[in-house]
């Protein structure tokens, strides 16, 4: 277990930033641990979700943003559903991912890369092109044969399309991406 000097690494503006962006009040958390008790991913996390909440209350920005936990959370909503203080914990985890992404501090590169491959496919075609997304992920991640064992199975079932279904309004979908990027640039 890591030892943190809370005074040295305290970042008050981070608490404010997460509260504002998530619309949640992390100080309501009294560390009952119910979120962690129900979290299906806790065995894979470096910090259980209740500890992420505690780290947030103590403004431990760098530890949180570089944690694996925020990227291995699947937004299954168990924590949010069971929090006795009615904190939308999954929304806080989501906000933390968004901030980590913005600050280029992503610990689980493959997870982000998969999401990016997915979104690139949507930007290009308007809809998700499953084969293209997988190939793009495999090439960019270096995991050239990720899920190669599944190929023959879906092929045999006639579930694979080798060409994307391009929608007419794909430029309109692409515009959502560019408008967002322009806006993000403007606001730094």
């Amino acid at each position: 277990m890591d030892t943190l000097n809370l005074t040295k690494s305290l970042n008050l503006s981070f608490i404010e930033q997460v509260s504002k962006e998530s619309g949640q009040n992390p100080s309501l958390c009294y560390q009952c641990g119910n979120c962690t008790a129900g979290c299906p991913y806790t065995h894979f996390f470096d910090y259980p979700v209740s500890q992420i909440m505690r780290l947030l209350q103590t403004g431990q920005r760098d530890t949180i943003l570089s944690s694996k936990a925020i990227w291995l959370c699947a937004t299954c909503e168990t924590c949010t559903t069971r929090c006795p203080c009615e904190i939308d914990v999954a929304m806080i985890m989501d906000t933390l991912r968004v901030i980590a992404r913005r600050e280029n501090k992503v610990s689980e590169k493959d997870v982000k890369l998969f999401y990016d491959s997915f979104l690139n496919s949507v930007k290009e075609h308007g809809r998700l092109f499953e084969v293209g997304t997988l190939l793009s992920y495999n090439l960019r991640s270096g995991n050239f044969f990720a899920d190669a064992d599944l190929g023959p199975k879906v092929l045999e079932k006639g579930k694979i399309h080798f060409f994307p279904k391009k929608i007419k309004g794909r430029d309109k979908v692409a515009k959502i991406f560019t408008r967002f990027q322009e806006k993000a640039k403007k606001h730094g």
Partner: protein, 331 residues
């Protein structure tokens, strides 16, 4: 039920790896007299990846579709995929509940969304709008021997503020629909336990370990089949079942059917049209086990008659033994 028209947002998975969900859902709706129309030129909802980027951006990808659906004038859009549903509902609720959020989202769109669409899962439309009586009235076939573990996945009913449907801890909508069509439903404790969601590609081991638990618990509940309502759950449990077997040293052979396929089978619909052959773990045994309800009634009557006969024979035997006993006593 007066025929009502719904917009039907199938989502990207239902064009590819979950094509059998689309096929069976359409067939079942047709049988129930529910008329559905696909929104023209719909686009991807953004799903999980978009909300790791930004909330407004994610809502915009979803809201482009809400704008298209709003113009159709159906009022309600029915959505088979829980991930699409959740994203569409988040966008709708966020935009109708918060004006500044709505403006921010609309700034990213060509045409604004005004808030006039109610997204509902296909399960919700069946349960609440069609109703269990109508669902039951279309049954022509039975699946004797089938015991189903109803698996809802994480987000179909959660969080309750977004889903606004069924129970967030012990959902029953799928249980009720399956029971209404005469299928035996197992008491399944893992209805909501996450299957690994969208991590299949980048974190395969993690997903295999999670699906292992979902599959094991279904067997423990006495089920010989799992019913799902989510393309991602289905993919993780069905397509990746072989991976689970090789990594976890197990020998699962558990068919994973969409609830709509099971309903369709009880309606006597053709297995081919329900996409039964699209499943990776074969459901052929289930298809073969199908009999008409008349046959089932005959079988049950025969079984009852045989039972009554056996009972009568037993009674006769007992009476004979007693008679002989009294005879021996007398002598």
């Amino acid at each position: 039920m007066a025929e009502k028209e719904y917009a039907y947002y199938a989502g990207c998975s239902l064009e590819g790896t979950a094509v059998e969900y689309d096929m069976s859902m359409r067939q079942v709706f047709k049988a129930l007299g529910v008329s559905i129309v696909e929104p023209e030129d719909w686009s991807c909802c953004g799903s999980t990846p978009a909300h790791t980027v930004d909330r407004v951006f994610a809502a915009a990808l979803a809201a482009r579709n809400l704008t298209i659906i709003e113009k159709m004038g159906t009022g309600t859009v029915t959505v088979p995929c829980p991930s699409c549903l959740s994203v569409l509902k988040r966008a709708h609720l966020g935009m109708t509940g918060d004006e500044s959020f709505r403006n921010e989202v609309n700034e990213l769109l060509d045409e604004p969304y005004e808030g006039g669409v109610v997204p509902k899962s296909t399960l919700q439309v069946m349960l609440e709008d069609v109703g269990l009586d109508t669902i039951a009235s279309k049954v022509t076939h039975a699946l004797p021997g089938l015991v189903v573990a109803p698996y809802y996945g994480c987000i179909l009913t959660r969080p309750p503020e977004i889903a606004q449907f069924d129970d967030p801890e012990n959902p029953m909508s799928m249980d009720k629909i399956l029971e209404a069509v005469g299928v035996k439903v197992a008491d399944y404790a893992f209805k909501l336990e996450c299957c690994g969601a969208a991590f299949g590609v980048p974190k395969r081991d993690m997903v295999n370990r999670l699906t292992y638990r979902v599959l094991s618990m279904a067997l423990e509940a006495g089920a010989n089949c799992i019913a799902v309502a989510c393309p991602l759950c289905q993919q993780n449990l069905d397509l990746r079942q072989g991976q689970v077997n090789s990594t976890m040293n197990t020998s699962f052979n558990l068919p994973i059917l969409y609830f709509s396929q099971i309903v369709g089978l009880t309606y006597g619909l053709s297995p081919k049209e329900l996409g039964m052959d699209k499943l990776v773990v074969s459901a052929d045994d289930i298809v073969r086990s199908r009999i008409t309800i008349e046959e089932l009634a005959q079988r049950e009557a025969n079984a009852k008659a045989a039972e009554a006969e056996a009972k009568a024979a037993e009674k006769l035997k007992k009476a004979k033994v007693k008679e002989e006993d009294t005879k021996t006593e007398e002598t």
